[in-house]
């Protein structure tokens, strides 16, 4: 009971407080230093693993069915919209299906590349669609109108898709283990810092541009279904 009362009587509390610190002072000299060391070590470990280890854990590298040479195809076909075009009803064709590819590629390869060989044997011959992994794939609830951007606003594919059209090799597809979407959506930089307009494809990036170009982020339904 006495103890209970002490609590509320300032004087005695002071006292206990005093003696408490007294005792501690003794240990401090060593304690502080050690504490600081522990702090630094812990900080270092966590900080570095966050930067270096975390991305490795978060993303799994996936192989494309076979390599695709955009550069060559753009050269042969003339432009992106030879294969990725806006249909007459304004909808977007997306990735060309097997049928479109077979307009040029028959069961016999045209060229000599290993990849085309795989394509002709594994897919054309068997009439199987190529299960490409799409770097810019967005969730189902996202509505994106290519017509609005390429036709309406006259934007260039590069603005969002970057220089993929000039690539000879397909980049590695890094799949986010948690969300199942490509790393390209959040961007290569794990903090999400971007240098170019095509480095990220998050909602904020859309909003940012819309804010700038149209003076507002727009309503939900503009980009969601």
């Amino acid at each position: 009971m006495s103890e209970l009362d002490e609590k509320t009587e300032n004087g005695s509390v002071e006292a206990t407080g005093e003696c408490g610190t007294e005792e501690k002072k003794a240990k401090d000299n060593s304690g502080i230093g050690l504490g600081v060391i522990f702090f630094l070590v812990a900080f270092g470990v966590v900080f570095l693993s966050g930067w270096l280890l975390f991305p490795k854990l978060l993303y799994s590298e996936k192989e494309q069915p076979f390599n695709f040479n955009h550069d060559l195809h753009v050269y042969e076909m003339g432009s992106c919209d030879a294969c990725h075009y806006v249909r007459e009803d304004g909808s977007f064709s997306g990735l060309p299906d097997l049928y479109s590819c077979t307009q040029c590629h028959y069961e016999e390869p045209m060229g000599t590349t290993e990849d085309e060989k795989i394509f002709c044997e594994e897919y054309v011959a068997k009439g199987k669609e190529v299960p490409w992994l799409v770097y810019s794939k967005q969730p189902d609830n996202v509505f994106f109108s290519h017509a609005a951007h390429t036709e309406g606003a006259g934007m260039d594919c590069k603005t969002c898709h970057g220089h993929i059209g000039e690539s000879k090799e397909l980049p590695v597809y890094e799949e986010n283990r948690l969300t199942g979407y490509s790393r390209d959506i959040w961007g290569d930089n794990i903090w999400g810092i971007k240098k170019n307009s095509w480095d990220r494809m998050k909602m904020d990036d859309c909003a940012e541009c819309h804010e700038k170009e149209t003076g507002s982020k727009g309503s939900c339904f503009q980009c969601h279904k």
Binding site: E3, K7, G17, G20
Partner: protein, 418 residues
């Protein structure tokens, strides 16, 4: 066997006896937990809610326990800011009750939403215009405050107190408690209010809609005030129950009476405001929308004017007056009745502001919708009660909750319960 943990000099029942008591309540708790898991795993189809009753028993429970948990902030306000020092003898307990109420409220909300794993979107994608957002923010902040207010009391457990660090920590926290009390009061003002706003802003629901001040409908202020007024009555009620269970006097009468007196006045003032609000709503707000007062209280099996009478007279005026007048206030039995009526009154008010809002048809060709909760809803609503009892039991047993206990106890030796 757990004597080391029991505050020195405090008499507590034997551990086995205590354990059995806990086990019994624990069983009820488990039942609630089972129902909760059902709701999370199988979804809200486990409830009897429907598209007419999007808000039902759970939301009522939320509003009700937050209202009666208001004792914590109001008592704190009185003690630390208005410096009414006698209240130090009940503040610990008020805080514990508040802590229980608010933690329960948050739990229930977590069960009530359809996609619990997205619950945090309310912060992540907050819409500042929504009363519910305001509720969520203030609720969680205030809960943090309560936790901080609760900690020192925990640290006073003899075992912990042995550790000088904790000893000092708790002491220092006591020192700054006034600041937290102030913050708590401030936050409470807003979330209690915004809970009132939840119903008041529904201009599509003539029964709930109220005009108001700036963005805040009158219900905003009514809810805050009613929480402050009725909260302490619940604190006292629980204290009395604890005293009954433990067969011990824990808080001196003068403290109780003081708090009761304040409550009494508050309730009376509140109920006057409530009556004015109701009259204004009945003669101006509702008719402008094409509704007569009676439209809301007829053609259905449950909601008649008796509900309104019960809320205002039985649950408001009566306890208010009982607590104002010295002789009735200081008569333990009458005081107890007043407390019970008051708690009933505020709970009924919250029920009406949630359930009846859903029940009233607005389109002329629509009908009154009635609702009976499923056992899963009931179980999950009882869950917090069980949890509360257990927490109170633990606190009472292991923490020096009631500063006056020893002093009061010194006189009469008695066997103590749980």
């Amino acid at each position: 066997m757990d004597s080391a943990l029991i505050p020195e000099g405090a008499k507590r029942c034997s551990f086995p006896k205590f354990a059995i008591g806990i086990a019994v309540v624990g069983a009820v708790l488990l039942w609630g937990v089972f129902a909760m898991l059902l709701c999370w795993i199988k979804g809200l189809n486990q409830t009897n809610m429907n598209d007419y009753y999007g808000f039902a028993l759970w939301i009522w429970a939320d509003l009700a326990i937050i209202a009666i948990g208001g004792g914590a902030f109001f008592t704190g306000l009185l003690k630390y800011l208005f410096g009414i020092d006698e209240l130090k003898n009940i503040i610990n307990f008020a805080v514990i009750i508040g802590f229980i109420c608010y933690s329960s409220a948050l739990l229930i909300l977590a069960i009530d939403i359809g996609q619990p794993l997205r619950g945090w979107f309310i912060f992540w994608h907050a819409n500042v215009h929504s009363m519910l957002t305001e509720v969520a923010f203030c609720l969680s902040c205030y809960f943090a405050v309560l936790t901080i207010e609760f900690i020192p009391n925990i640290l006073e457990n003899p075992k912990l107190d042995k550790v000088p660090f904790f000893h000092n920590l708790s002491h220092n926290m006591h020192g700054v408690m006034a600041i937290f009390a102030a913050t708590g009061a401030f936050l409470s003002f807003f979330h209690q209010g915004s809970l009132g706003g939840v119903a008041g802003v529904l201009y599509g629901r003539p029964f709930a809609f109220r005009e108001g001040l700036l963005i805040w409908p009158w219900t905003f202020f009514l809810f805050t005030f009613s929480a402050a007024a009725y909260g302490p009555t619940f604190t006292i009620l629980v204290t009395k129950i604890t005293e009954a269970v433990t067969r011990k006097k824990l808080v001196k009468e003068n403290v109780i009476n003081l708090l009761a007196k304040i409550s009494g006045w508050m309730i009376t003032i509140y109920i006057i405001a409530k009556i004015i609000d109701t009259i204004y709503w009945a003669v101006s707000t509702a008719p402008e929308m094409g509704f007569t007062f009676m439209d809301f209280y007829s053609n259905n099996p449950v909601y008649g004017v008796s509900i309104l009478f019960a809320e205002i007279v039985i649950g408001g005026i009566v306890p208010g007056l009982l607590l104002i007048f010295k002789q009735t206030r200081e008569n333990p039995r009458l005081r107890l009745i007043a407390m019970i009526l008051a708690v009933f009154g505020v709970c009924l008010n919250r029920w009406v502001m949630v359930l009846q809002v859903m029940a009233v048809p607005v389109m002329t060709f629509d009908q009154w919708a009635m609702y009976i909760p499923s056992w899963q809803e009931v179980a999950t609503t009882i869950l917090p009660v069980a949890y509360g009892i257990i927490l109170i039991a633990l606190c009472y047993r292991y923490l020096p909750v009631f500063p006056q206990e020893q002093e009061l106890y010194a006189g009469n030796e008695q066997g103590a319960e749980s």
